[in-house]
Amino acid sequence: MILDAPQATTHRLDPLSRRAMIGRLGGGLGATGVASALSADQSLSHYGGKARRVIQLFMNGGPYQGDLFDPKPALKKFEGQRPPGATLRTERITAGLLPSIRKFAPRGNSGVVVSDLLPEISRVIDDICVLKGCHSDNPNHNPAMFLMNCGALTSAVPSVGSWVSYGLGSENRNLPSYVVLATGYPVEAPLTWTSAFLPNHHQGTHINHSNLAPEKIIPFLRNARYDRNVQRRQLDLLGQLNRKHLENRGGGDRLASRIQSMETAFRMQFEATDAFNLEQESKQTRDAYGTGKFANGCLLARRVCERGVRYVQLYYDGGQPWDTHNNHNQRMVTLTRNVDRPIASLIADLKQRGLLEDTLVVWGGEFGRTPVSENGNGRDHNHHGFSMWMAGGGVRGGMTYGETDDFGFKAVTDKVHVHDVHATMLHLLGIDHTQLTYRYAGRDFRLTDVYGRVVSEILV
């Protein structure tokens, strides 16, 4: 939407002007003394990214890969036993191997194998690339959440969304560039969407979409007293006062940041009301996504992406719902039923609107689950091997990459570490993960620390 006030016009940046990018990178590179090494051509060569934005679908708690994309017939043969390879350490005490009860079949033209829990996603599987050999570093939720979200096991560093926002800026100044949709706090939130030492406005803006009235989604979104013109006049006054205050103090990041934040908030009132109003969707679309918190989240993700939000993170729910330590089979049915149709519709919808080619969709949890049982009918956390998938934004659909061992416990071939996932995501966005740095506390930080490999095998 186009707003009348001049500050409020929808503003699209160039994909990434070289000057802006070099400006951002300059601090870090200058400090390491190799700024001259970054000749114009080299720097620009990194920016052929196909994706302009990201939707990350976070199955917090850790979904079991062996029920979805990674069937393991050998489990049946060794049911209840702990043969070599089935004794890896995880968070808790586990027992013998527990076969999946799901049925698998090749789907789509590509024939990627998907289980009967995901009939709708099966229909769009030709757009999806399943990474079957993912692995992480820690079987506990908290560090694993930090690693998946921030690239480190602790919270002191910025989240992926914040890095992306920092690297690419916003396409819409009326909305935050990094939106987190979560109907409750996942483990370690809100630190999981922290901007840490990056400037504050790159932090994820958390939106609880469990109630779709816009003012419920964002507290105090609606001004009950003043209309827009009155409020604009008031904010102009406030802006002038604040700028004088800032000048008198010789500047200051936090003062300036609040001035900017105030303007974002003003525009957010109108843009957000609009962006979060699902009533504007046709009945057909709403039916396609289905009902429920996660379905609404998917639809909202598409709506805010359309409006230029750079990074959307959608959590399944608060807490760790995919954490099926008990009653695993039963709970998987409910969990997958709640995501299958909305996700499939999201992909189809993005595709139909021409958005999928420059929107990267990433699906996964903070880790997977064990092929061995816990408590007889549950599965423990498994960071040794699990599946994630990507779609759109320059990723080759209809393929799988990587394998786990015979039991689906540990990634063995074409392994993809969390750092590699991050490196690949940045690459798809046109960012070289080794060069997006920020100097803080005496060193140059980057999302992937000293790790990360772009999984070039899955690129279009």
Binding site: N200, G252, M262
Partner: protein, 786 residues
């Protein structure tokens, strides 16, 4: 290796081409870049891949080779030297990691990148900045090396004497000036008196000064005016409220406790105890000891029991007693872990809970240490108890115990027995018995209940084949077995209850008296006092300056940051101890310094060389936390209810006009206003608040009914519509809100905003005024303190 990876590596490695010159360097003479390279790249590799077999802790030490000190690394092992500086090709270490002949580590090869780092290191001449002994995680907690860690050792400080020093007002300043001069920075000039009184007021009592107070202070040019103001603020009851809230962040205080116990006590009595005790300036040693063990201290009576809320209000979780005993024990072990964590981080600045499953990875804290402290806490059961002596308490406890036992056995019987008429009758009888006990005067006593701890150990035991029971054994403290790898079902050796080894002078002293809570407190303030004092002094400093001298206030271990001014911290901590741990003394000392009185104005030279203001070249302007910001709004509109203490209220109610710290804190669903304004998670110790700036916060400032209400009230206070001229009203507004005159520009802006409505249209004029005052309330000047 891909070219890109190589480039990344080159970025990491020191490439100043001076490798040859550096070969002969001894520790301390290594170029900073190389030292950093070692610390960032090489040392972590050693720790990760080599120390298990090649360090002081290795049992047995493999090949006689230690890599945990510089000298040992140079010396080599049974096969001779492993490094030939400058010559990777001739170095055994490199052969080994390349798996060329000898293979190290034996079962896992390093990544190409890791090997490259080691090769690069050797070719640079193996620069090794390590001095002294092995890293702290690799030495025994009672070794001299462990005890020499800066945070553990006795205070060490010599006060610098900068030449031509006309700036310093007290010893703090000499340390600060000394370091500033080393970095060629000058301190900032002293702030003006209006700024100083605002700063002092918000810092000490969390409220702004009134215009009259500012006028009086600005006019009071007599010597000692500043000191008198500080005394006046420290004597205000609001002091305890403001600093109490700071403490409650550490203690993860909450008013509502979702959990197993179904507490009916009044958590706020602990909050009020904190406020009162801080106002009395009891001494930090006393303040802490009473929170740990006032029930065991002779000269504090039963009316002090609310102090025990520190542990009494610990988070607790649902324990399903029908589950496997391992799960119940794990839940209890998780609760214990949180208690050890809050103890370690709050009082000692140590991450003790990292030692639950193994020795601490970085600090000299053993797995045994964890269970030594854990035993104390597992012998101290959180419980509701009356704010009264044992004569009142014991009969109530007995009655409650009976009810608890009867309820459990009734549940069991209902599960197991068929519902025959005879059995139903039995159930009824038991139910009646429970009801009778509940009605008894002792049980239903009207005595005020507080959440405390009592001397009773906690045990999870089987209760028949399919059930478990949680037993509290009164007066029977327990030592804990180590849980091997943190698993409560795997018993390791028994560890006596005692203080941390690294902080204990001389031999270990197992606790003898009950749970040992009092002995633990005593040990902290005797053997452990340098660390305990440094931690609290740093916290108080942080509250005054926005950042601590140590910027990881709850981690003084090797993973934390070291102090920017080590001598200053030690000197202040030592004097704090001499001054009977008086927090008010500490506030006086800090606020008296020239460092504290500096202007907060930004300076290009300071901004360029020290943007984080670690060196304190100015006073860092501070954004008010939600509590003082909201309180100040209520204060300027004359609506702040200044009563102290009592039950919590609802911050979501726009008419709630008590100080923000009295708003209800619910662990499960935190108030929206608190949550959006960086209030920490009340379920865990908060090291420090992390200020963020978000559009959602600005929506509160722009749109909340609370702000509307304050703007309207302010209009009434100023007397809008009473016939005074417009500029006079604007002057009044600035005076009340900012205690200063508006500038000409500000006056003009205000007049322009407010004019243009027909004089007769009272409604419209009132609306304009409300908008105007609302903007002033929402301004940066009202939110930030210079």
């Amino acid at each position: 290796m891909t070219p890109r990876l190589l480039i990344a590596l080159l970025l990491l490695l020191p490439a100043d081409g001076r490798a040859a010159d550096d070969r002969a360097t001894t520790p301390g003479q290594i170029p900073a870049k190389q030292a950093e390279f070692f610390e960032r790249e090489v040392r972590p590799l050693f720790v990760k891949h080599c120390f298990e077999c090649h360090s002081a802790k290795s049992k047995p030490l493999q090949g006689g080779l230690r890599l945990d000190t510089r000298d040992d690394t140079r010396k080599g092992g049974e096969s001779g030297p492993v490094i030939v500086p400058g010559k990777p090709g001739e170095s055994l270490l490199i052969d080994a990691v390349r798996h060329d002949g000898i293979k190290m580590p034996p079962n896992r090869k390093l990544t190409p990148r890791e090997i490259l780092i080691l090769e690069r290191w050797v070719s640079l001449g193996a620069p090794d900045p390590r001095t002294g002994g092995p890293s702290l995680s690799a030495v025994a907690p009672d070794s001299p090396q462990a005890r020499a860690w800066w945070a553990f050792r006795p205070f060490q400080a010599s006060v610098p004497r900068p030449t031509d020093d006309t700036w310093s007002r007290n010893r703090i300043d000499r340390f600060v000036l000394n370091l500033l001069r080393k970095k060629r920075l000058a301190p900032s000039p002293v702030a003006d008196r209006r700024t100083l009184i605002r700063r002092l007021s918000f810092d000490l009592v969390g409220l702004g000064p009134t215009p009259e107070e500012v006028d009086a202070f600005v006019a009071d040019t007599a010597p000692g005016a500043y000191g008198r103001l500080v005394e006046q603020l420290l004597a205000s009851p609001a002091y305890g409220e403001h600093w109490g809230r700071f403490w409650l962040d550490k203690a993860r205080y909450a008013d509502a406790l979702p959990g197993f116990e179904g507490s009916t006590a009044n958590p706020w009595r602990y909050r009020d105890w904190v406020i009162r005790t801080l106002n009395e300036d009891a001494g930090y040693d006393d303040f802490v000891s009473r929170q740990l063990a006032t029930d065991l201290i002779k000269d504090t009576g039963p009316d002090d029991l609310a102090a025990l809320g520190f542990f009494g209000l610990s988070p607790s979780y649902w324990k399903e007693l029908k589950l496997d005993i391992s799960l119940v024990r794990e839940t209890v072990a998780k609760e214990l872990e949180e208690r050890v964590d809050v103890f370690g981080r709050t009082f000692l600045g140590l991450t003790l809970s990292c030692s639950r499953c193994h020795d601490h990875k970085f600090d000299p804290i053993s797995n045994r240490d964890y269970y030594a402290i854990g035993g104390v806490l597992m012998s101290s059961r959180p419980v509701d108890r009356p704010l009264a002596g044992d004569d009142v308490w014991l009969p109530i406890r007995e009655a409650r115990e009976q009810v608890r036992n009867l309820t459990v056995s009734l549940a069991k019987m209902k599960e197991q027995l068929p519902k025959t008429p005879a059995n139903k009758k039995r159930f009824k009888q038991i139910e009646a018995k429970i009801a009778a006990i509940r009605k008894s005067t002792e049980f239903a006593s009207n005595t005020v209940m507080v959440r405390a701890v009592e001397e009773a150990s906690i045990h999870v035991v089987p209760d028949g084949p399919a059930r478990n029971r949680i037993e509290f054994r009164h007066g029977k403290p327990r030592d804990l077995h180590i849980h091997i790898r943190g698993n409560p079902m795997r018993k390791g050796p028994l560890v006596p209850r005692r203080f941390l080894e690294v902080l204990t002078a001389g031999k270990l002293k197992p606790f003898q008296q009950g749970s040992g809570r009092l002995e633990l407190a005593r040990a902290m303030f005797t053997d452990g006092h340098p660390l305990v004092a440094r931690v609290i002094v740093n916290r108080i400093w942080e509250q005054h300056f926005g950042q601590g001298l140590v910027r990881t206030p709850s981690n003084f271990g090797t993973q934390g940051q070291k102090p920017s001014h080590p001598g200053l911290l030690d000197d202040l901590a030592a004097r704090f101890v001499t001054h009977h741990w008086s927090l008010k003394w500490l506030h006086r000392e800090i606020t008296a310094s020239a460092t504290y009185r500096q202007s907060s104005r930004n300076r290009p030279d300071g901004q360029a060389s020290d943007p984080d203001n670690r060196l304190l070249w100015r006073f860092t302007p501070r954004r008010l936390a939600i509590e003082p910001w909201r309180d100040a709004m209520l204060q300027v509109t004359g609506s702040l209810d200044q009563r102290i203490g009592g039950a919590a209220g609802n911050l979501g109610d726009d008419n709630y006009s008590r100080r923000t710290l009295y708003g209800k804190i619910d662990r499960k669903t935190l108030s929206v206003i608190l949550k959006m304004h960086d209030f920490p998670d009340p379920g865990a110790h908060s090291a420090r608040r992390k200020p963020t700036t978000t559009p959602v916060q600005q929506l509160f400032a722009m749109n909340s009914p609370f702000l509307f209400k304050q703007a309207d009230r302010l209009a009434t206070v100023i007397g809008i519509g009473n016939g005074k001229p417009l500029p006079s009203h604007i002057h009044d507004a600035y005076r009340i809100l900012f205690q200063r005159q508006p500038t000409d520009d500000e006056l003009a802006l205000g007049e322009r905003f407010l004019s243009g409505t027909p004089a007769a249209d009272k409604t419209q004029r009132a609306a304009r005024w409300s908008q105007y005052l609302h903007a002033l309330l929402a301004s940066n000047e009202f939110l930030f303190v210079d």
